[in-house]
C-alpha cells in the first residue's frame, strides 16, 4: 500500500497528464468518428484553460463553476466556427481548424489580460487526480453510449457516405456540428483541469504541436471505439517516462515504437481487441478515419 502511495506521489504529474491527454484524445475522437479531420482542439483546450484560470483569479469563481464556464466558452466558440468550417472537407477542413488554433494562440499572445507571452502564473493547483479520472470515466461512458445511439449511427453513416446519409434523412451538417461542439466542450473541460495541475499556462502550450499530438493520440490508439484514444494517450504520454533510462536514445526508441504501431496496427492499438473485425474491414477497404 505504501509502495502504491509512493508511486502515486512520485508520478502524480505524469498520471495527471495522462488523464488530461486521454480526455483530449476523446475530444478529437468525436469528430474523427464522424469522419471529420479537425485540429482545433488544442485551441478549445486553451479557451477552457484561460477562462477557468481567469475566472478563479479575478472573480473568485468556485473551481467547478470555473471549469464548467471554461468548457462552455469553448463549446460556444465552436458553434459559429463549425458552421463556417464544415463547408470544407478532408485536409482543407484540417487546415482551416489549424488556422483557427493559430488565431487563438496569437490573440492570447497579444492580450494583456491573458498575460501575453508570459501567460498566467500562480494558478492554484486545485485539480486532484480523481477530478481528472472521474471526468475521464464519465466522458468515456457517455461517448460509448452515444456511439450506439441514433446520433452515433448517424456519425458512422456520415463517415461512410455523406450523400447516402443525407438521402436517408440524416441532417449531415447538424450532426457534424454537434460532434465538433461536443469535442470542444470536452477539450475545454480538459484545459481547465490541466491549467490547475501545472501552476502556469502560456500560449505555447496550446499551439500546432499540441493539436497534432492530440490527433496522434487518437489515431495511434484507434478510432473504432472510445478505448482507442485512451490507450493511445496513455501509451504515448507514459512512453517518455518509461524510456527515461535510455537517456539520449529515448527519442529514437519512441519514434521506432510509433512507427511499428502505425505499420502493423494501422487502425490503432485498440484493434488488438477485435483483430478479426479489423481484418474484415480492411478487406473491403472501409474507411474509419477521415
Amino acid at each position: 500500500m505504501d509502495a502504491l502511495f509512493d508511486f502515486l506521489r512520485t508520478y502524480s504529474t505524469t498520471i495527471a497528464v495522462i488523464g488530461v491527454s486521454a480526455l483530449l484524445a476523446l475530444s478529437v475522437w468525436v469528430t474523427l468518428y464522424a469522419g471529420q479531420l479537425t485540429l482545433g482542439n488544442a485551441a478549445f483546450m486553451a479557451v477552457g484553460a484561460y477562462v477557468a484560470a481567469l475566472l478563479g483569479r479575478h472573480l473568485d469563481a468556485p473551481f467547478p463553476l470555473a471549469l464548467l464556464i471554461g468548457a462552455f466558452a469553448a463549446a460556444l466558440l465552436a458553434l459559429p466556427l463549425g458552421a463556417i468550417v464544415f463547408r470544407l472537407r478532408g485536409v482543407y477542413l484540417a487546415i482551416a481548424t489549424l488556422a483557427f488554433g493559430e488565431i487563438v494562440r496569437v490573440i492570447l499572445l497579444a492580450t494583456p489580460i491573458t498575460g501575453k507571452g508570459q501567460g498566467l502564473n500562480g494558478i492554484p493547483p486545485t485539480t486532484e487526480l480523481w477530478h481528472i479520472y472521474l471526468s475521464l470515466l464519465i466522458v468515456a461512458y457517455v461517448l460509448w453510449r452515444v456511439q450506439g445511439s441514433t446520433i452515433g449511427r448517424a456519425w458512422a453513416a456520415i463517415r461512410e457516405d455523406e450523400i447516402a446519409s443525407a438521402s436517408q434523412g440524416i441532417a449531415v451538417g447538424q450532426h457534424k456540428l454537434a460532434a465538433f461542439v461536443i469535442g470542444a466542450l470536452i477539450a475545454g473541460w480538459a484545459g481547465g483541469l490541466s491549467a490547475h495541475v501545472t501552476f502556469s499556462i502560456d500560449p505555447s502550450d496550446f499551439g500546432f504541436t499540441k493539436a497534432v499530438q492530440v490527433l496522434v493520440f487518437a489515431v495511434v490508439g484507434g478510432v473504432p471505439n472510445v478505448l482507442g484514444p485512451i490507450l493511445g494517450a496513455g501509451l504515448l504520454t507514459a512512453l517518455p517516462e518509461v524510456l527515461r533510462p535510455l537517456r539520449d536514445y529515448r527519442d529514437i526508441f519512441q519514434g521506432a515504437i510509433l512507427l511499428l504501431v502505425i505499420i502493423y496496427l494501422p487502425r490503432g492499438l485498440v484493434t488488438f481487441v477485435d483483430v478479426r473485425r479489423t481484418r474484415r474491414l480492411s478487406r473491403i477497404g472501409a474507411v474509419d478515419v477521415a
Partner: protein, 253 residues
C-alpha cells in the same frame, strides 16, 4: 397526385441536363423512367431527391412546394431512393445500414441510453429492420455481416431495404437491376411488384426495358434532358419519337 414537377431544369455549365421536364406520379402507381445514356434520368431523380438543387421549375409533393429542400428534409417527407452505383455503408453491418434508414422514423435515444436499464427486447425498430432484411431476401442470419462483404447484387437489395426502412411514400430506384444475373433480376421484379401491390408509389429508372414494361403502369421517356414521351408501356413502344431516340432516324445496319 403524389409528386409533380413543373418545368424542372438543371444545367451543368453549358449543358442542360434536365430541360423543362414536367413529370407527374400518381399515388400508388409505378412509373418507369427510361432513355438513352446521358438523357438526364439520374439528374432528374437527383433533383427530386434533393441531392442537387434545381436551376428552374418547381417540385410538388402532395401539392406542397418542396423545391430547394435539402435531401434529408425530403427523406423525412417520404422520398426514399437507391443509387445507381450502390452506396451502402460498407463498413457497417447490414442491420446498422437498415437502422440508419429508419433514422427519420426513430426518436433520438441518446438520453435513454445514458441511464442503465434492462435491455429492451421488444425494440420495434430492431424488429422492423430485421423483417425488412428478410423481405428483400437477405436472410436474417446475415444481418451482422458488414455490408461491404456482401456480393454486389445483395448490396443492391440491402440498399432497397434501407430505403424501405424510412417508410417512404415514394420509392425511387435508380437502375436496381444493373449488374444482376437473371435469377436476381427476377427476384427484384417480384419484390417491386409486391411493393406496388401494397400501394407503394415507385419511380423506376432502368436500362432493362423489359423490366420497366412489365412492372410499370406508365412510362416516361427522356432524351437530351427533355421528356419526349409519357404513356402506357404499349403506347411508348409504338411512339415514333421514342423509336427515333433509341434507334436514330436513319436505319442502322
Amino acid at each position: 397526385m403524389l409528386l409533380e414537377t413543373v418545368g424542372l431544369t438543371k444545367r451543368f455549365g453549358g449543358v442542360t441536363a434536365v430541360d423543362r421536364v414536367d413529370l407527374r406520379i400518381v399515388a400508388g402507381e409505378a412509373l418507369g423512367l427510361i432513355g438513352p445514356n446521358g438523357a438526364g434520368k439520374t439528374t432528374l431523380i437527383n433533383l427530386i431527391s434533393g441531392v442537387v438543387g434545381a436551376d428552374g421549375g418547381t417540385i410538388r409533393l402532395s401539392g406542397a412546394d418542396v423545391t430547394g429542400l435539402p435531401a434529408h428534409r425530403l427523406a423525412a417527407l417520404g422520398i426514399a431512393r437507391t443509387f445507381q452505383g450502390v452506396r451502402v455503408f460498407k463498413g457497417l453491418t447490414v442491420h446498422d445500414n437498415v437502422l440508419i434508414g429508419r433514422h427519420t422514423r426513430m426518436r433520438s435515444d441518446v438520453l435513454a441510453r445514458l441511464l442503465p436499464r434492462p435491455r429492451d427486447m421488444a425494440d420495434p425498430d430492431r424488429a422492423r429492420s430485421l423483417s425488412l432484411i428478410e423481405r428483400v431476401g437477405l436472410g436474417r442470419r446475415r444481418s451482422d455481416v458488414l455490408a461491404g462483404e456482401l456480393p454486389y447484387g445483395d448490396q443492391r437489395r440491402l440498399e432497397i431495404a434501407r430505403a424501405l426502412a424510412s417508410e417512404p411514400r415514394l420509392l425511387i430506384l435508380d437502375e436496381p437491376a444493373a449488374g444482376m444475373n437473371p435469377t436476381e433480376s427476377a427476384g427484384l421484379r417480384a419484390l417491386i411488384e409486391s411493393l406496388r401491390a401494397e400501394g407503394l408509389t415507385i419511380l423506376l429508372i432502368e436500362h432493362d426495358v423489359r423490366l420497366v414494361m412489365d412492372t410499370c403502369q406508365r412510362v416516361a421517356v427522356l432524351n437530351f434532358g427533355r421528356k419526349i414521351a409519357d404513356g402506357t408501356p404499349a403506347e411508348i413502344q409504338r411512339d415514333p419519337a421514342v423509336r427515333e431516340a433509341y434507334l436514330g432516324t436513319e436505319a442502322v445496319a
